[in-house]
């Protein structure tokens, strides 16, 4: 009843190949964007913006990046944290060496640098697959972190190894990074970047390049016979994925924390993002954000709920309970729907097509 496409006749392939062919999806997307871009900045407090929403959109972008590589192209990677660090440090070096560069140029270039690094570490993927590739990408994780930690040039010889983001303006005096920027500006900037990149990812995954990725994931032999070059396709997935992770890392350092050291992007970050896409749904743009929301927002929600339930004194107990409930929920979701939250949403949509008269 609510979600049904009856009466929406697509009379051309153009209409059928549109990014959101169904009217309800278009409307839903507009509502979400309106809420994210207008309602949230107007209503949310600075605390909400900086500690909850910013990490959510940035984690969402990183999860999207990993999902392109793992979910769409089928190449398991544990190097996400390393690539994020690469983006963060590339942006830092660019912004401090060339202060006149526009912030968008800095971000795009740091993404491109990370893409090149990602392609380099993607080279073994031609020969090794699955878990073994995951181990090979661990090399990227450890090597990149070691590099940024041990070579002082990357931190501009700061004694603590911490880089602090210089203020960069989107135009005039409107700063979007560094300590001068308001939380609202930082949030809107990050949200815009993430929205545009998510849109681009949606387009890529449903067109030629996305089909090539999925073909390699599903049956590499048949893909090769059709004329898809395995190495070029896998490397393009590494490049695009690393671009996204790099931009996410740059946003992390510049818009979210403001100051960061290499160890902030350790292996735990990689695992966290991997869990996000497993729970959210492999091979789904929406799933990346659902997973990020689940992993980032749920602990905060649980924590607040427990505290509200009169556990203000037993803070330690509350945080232990939070871990336990979180773990139980992850297991529950994986049992109920191994294909992730995105699939649950899809099933729900299927049901809504017929509800309330499922004849």
């Amino acid at each position: 009843m609510i979600y049904r496409e009856t009466g929406q006749f697509k009379t051309s392939y153009a209409a059928d190949q549109a990014i959101f062919p169904i009217a309800q999806d278009r409307l839903g997307m507009l509502v979400i964007l309106a809420v994210a871009f207008v309602a949230v900045p107007l209503m949310a407090s600075d605390y909400w913006l900086t500690t909850i929403l910013l990490p959510f959109v940035i984690y969402g972008l990183a999860a999207l990046g990993l999902n392109i590589l793992t979910g769409y192209a089928g190449q398991l990677s544990l190097g996400t944290g390393g690539f994020m660090a690469c983006g963060a440090f590339a942006a830092y070096k660019l912004a401090t060496a060339f202060p006149e560069l526009h912030v968008l140029v800095v971000f795009a270039l740091s993404g491109l640098i990370t893409a090149a690094v990602g392609m380099l570490f993607g080279l073994p993927s031609l020969r090794i697959k699955g878990f073994y590739l995951a181990v090979a990408t661990l090399a990227a994780q450890f090597f990149l972190l070691w590099l940024f930690n041990k070579v002082p040039w990357f931190t501009n010889y700061s004694s603590s190894g911490v880089i602090s983001a210089p203020p960069l303006a989107i135009w005039g005096e409107t700063y979007v990074t560094g300590f001068e920027a308001t939380p609202r500006a930082k949030y809107l900037f990050a949200l815009t970047v993430v929205t545009l990149l998510a849109l681009a990812a949606k387009n890529m995954t449903r067109l030629k390049i996305g089909r090539a990725w999925m073909a390699i994931r599903d049956m590499d032999i048949a893909a090769e016979i059709i004329g898809i070059r395995p190495l070029a396709t896998k490397l393009s997935a590494f490049a695009v994925s690393s671009f996204y992770c790099g931009v996410a890392g740059a946003l992390w350092a510049f818009a979210y924390t403001g100051a960061v050291e290499a160890l902030a992007f350790d292996i735990n970050v990689s695992f966290r993002i991997l869990f996000m896409i497993i729970i959210g749904g492999l091979g789904s743009i929406l799933g990346s954000f659902l997973g990020a929301g689940f992993i980032v927002l749920l602990p905060i929600f649980l924590n607040n709920a427990l505290l509200a339930m009169g556990m203000a004194e037993a803070v330690a107990l509350a945080s232990h309970l939070e871990f336990m409930i979180m773990g139980a929920l992850i297991i529950l979701f994986l049992i109920v729907e191994p294909h992730g939250l995105a699939r649950l949403w899809q099933i729900l949509k299927e049901k809504l097509r017929k509800w309330p008269f499922p004849y």
Binding site: K208, D218, M219, A222, I225, I226
Partner: protein
Amino acid sequence: MSGVQQRESAVQRKRHIGDVLLAAENIGLRFGGVQALAGVSFDIREGEIRAIIGPNGAGKSSMLNVINGFYQPQEGHIVWRGQRMRRMRPHFAARNGIARTFQNIALFKGMTTLDNIMTGRMLKMRATMLEQAVFWGRARREELEHRAFVERIIDFLEIPHIRNVPVGKLPYGLQKRVELARALAMEPTLLLLDEPMAGMNLEEKEDMCRYILDVNEEFGTTVALIEHDMGVVMDISDRVVVLDYGRLLADGPPEEVRRDPEVIKAYLGVSQD
């Protein structure tokens, strides 16, 4: 199709048969100590339906894999349109219009029927990654153009109802058909079919025969197929190659091959006259 019509169309087809499109010359292929193919030579002419038959393990699938460059033979070569290939490569084969289907279906299980068939158009798309990211200009134009072409194949193979179904959920017979559709989307000059009718019931087999004959007649596509159903092979093929233990046993029109004593001994069993 009645018997008379069938013979007529067979006669017509013979007129379409042209020059040698692809020739295998003295192919020898070994896997360690196993000699999969030994000194196999035959040719495939433009416009014909060429069957490759033989008992299990005779090297039929290996032969197809050699033809489209998936295996590299230790001896001999493939001659493509009169040009002797030093090494055949899958990418070269695909670009030159050699398409194939597999014995155990090799579809992209997580993708819909439509997307699977669209992958067959991959080599004809030129849009850059950036154009695809914004879905504008060439990317959009190409996508719609190829969609229209793919829809014609979908109509031709009578599968519009499963357009948006992930192929992993389809029954076996339909999966085989989608795989044929994907190969046809490449607009092949040479179509290699590895047991296109394995595991099908009579009705599905008849459908598949009809598609193969239609493809051959309407688009002039050359077909090389491996098949175990002798009835099918004898009915639709113009010439038959018989392999046994990697050797070429016989090569000729179906009636001739059927009477060959060697073939009868090795493959068809004792004569039932």
